[in-house]
Symmetry: C2
Subunit: 314 residues, 2 copies
């Protein structure tokens, strides 16, 4: 099952993909189910009920008329991984523990859904707004101190994540804090695919493209800490909750293509030769094989001037 969060005429809903053009609106087909995907995951048999309801194909609607929200718009936590692929460790020259994963957090309001604009900061404050195509893991059943061998029982599904990063701010000090939490800088979607269809999370390929050109291409078996290890580690400190998201790390960059010139080393942040920057007008895609493609246009953020209302692109 591919299940997702959306809005239609500003009303939020949860849908199940029926085919390339249409979906089943659970609000119509199963009005007794919770109205959010997190709410559905909080119910012990929520996903099974959603699946059964979608199988009837009542409430069939066109995907053309909706706006995608982040798969989970309101998670309690978005746990992100730094330096969880060897290539990315090597290309950045940064050090990381071999024993424990390196964890930081993103906030829900920094992410948008599929096809929604992601914001490129005003060049006056940053010229290094960069993609990171990653596998996102969505927690179903809550748990604490989850053993590695039980970890995948706690997964509701998987999605694509563009963990968009503003490198100058990320590099301002030792904790990433703000550079990983710029306004509408990341994206999460298009949908969650359940494990029965997705299979083993360590046997997939992630590809990131900017304007159709491949910039990242790696397989998830190259993670330093795999999905079961990440779930085990995080749950030592924290009760992993239904709808929580684990963004499992960026695989690193492909080399530049023939004739391409690298960015200047002087633009701030860590220098990676194969990394290109996202600019207004670009389209950035993160594809995971068997799951689908998350695509976002890059749009200029408002000018770096005092504002007292939230900037909403388009």
């Amino acid at each position: 099952m591919r299940i997702f969060s959306y809005r239609q005429d500003d009303t939020p809903g949860v849908g199940v993909i029926a085919d390339n053009e249409s979906f089943v609106a659970l609000g119509e087909t199963a009005p007794d189910l919770p109205k959010t995907l997190k709410g559905i995951l909080e119910q012990p048999s929520g996903l099974e009920r959603a699946k059964a309801a979608a199988a009837t194909k009542k409430g069939l609607k066109s995907l053309a008329g909706i706006t995608y929200d982040p798969v989970i718009p309101d998670p309690q936590a978005i746990w992100c991984l730094a330096l969880n692929y060897k290539l990315h460790i090597d290309e950045t020259g940064l050090t990381t523990s071999a024993k424990y994963p390196q964890i930081f957090l993103r906030m829900p309001c920094t992410q948008v859904g599929h096809n929604r604009p992601i914001l490129c900061p005003d060049f006056a404050i940053s010229t290094k707004y960069e993609y990171e195509g990653e596998l996102a893991v969505i927690i179903g059943k809550g748990g604490r101190h989850i053993p590695v061998e039980k970890a995948l029982d706690h997964v509701a599904g998987y999605s694509c994540y563009n963990e968009g990063s503003v490198r100058e701010y990320q590099g301002h000090n030792r904790q990433f804090g703000l550079g990983k939490n710029f306004e509408q800088s990341g994206s999460f979607g298009p949908w969650m695919m359940t494990p029965d269809e997705f299979g083993d999370p360590s046997r997939h390929r992630i590809i990131t493209r900017v304007n159709g050109i491949e910039r990242q291409n790696a397989t998830t078996d190259l993670m330093v800490f795999g999905v079961p290890q990440l779930i085990n580690y995080l749950s030592q400190g924290y009760y992993l909750r239904p709808g929580d998201v684990i963004v499992s790390g960026s695989p690193g960059s492909l080399p530049l293509h023939k004739g391409e010139k690298p960015t200047s080393k002087n633009e701030g942040g860590v220098y990676v030769e194969g990394m290109v920057q996202m600019k207004p007008g670009d389209v950035c895609e993160v594809e995971i094989d068997g799951l689908g493609t998350l695509s976002n246009p890059v749009v200029a953020d408002a000018k770096a001037e005092y504002q007292t209302t939230l900037f909403t692109p388009r």
Copy 2:
């Protein structure tokens, strides 16, 4: 005005302190106001309406019968400061940028309200659960790229914060991630005091006590980056929203008292001689002069064993 979030018979509410024993329940006195403090802050004149309603002293109730929630139970973001006092930089021996603040994040579900138990991790996984008494700043009017000289116009009020930290996990890798986000490890309260009563945030004293013994005692003028600078910095990347919280950093430790023995240096994390560890049975207080005292009993977390339900102390 001192305004706070509470529950009575599991029903959440917002109250205004009337005197040492009683408060005005805004749900009764001003039923047209939003039902959460964040909701009140989102209204342009929400705080003024709360103040006017409280002045009538209708709906007067006893503080004895309520449970304090975190001042803002559901902020979009809790921005925390690492190494924002010189003493704390010196005592840890850690380096930090002199130019940019060091920012990390906490999640709302890691914090509890005044008088609620904070959880000491099972000694099997940590013996270094430590307090950090800090000044919390609560955003009122939202804004982006807020100039330093306008920053305090965006503050709704101030509170105390115990930024409880699990040092072994904090030290596992370069990003603090999990060690700053253990389940129910921090506290936030008892109330928010508005700026008209609190005055200049750089002219206050913070004292942290464990079982009545002073462990931290410093003045807020010693912050490396003051409240206006922090608001300016964060708002460069992110639209600061009503109800957002900025936890402005730990001031560092007093020396050990006569006859006290330091912790072993071998217990993991950064070693600070004057820092003592919180243990089940302790009571930890954070007092800010003119504002009040946040007090929490320390209670043992559940044993470090596989659990599929959230542990709720008492």
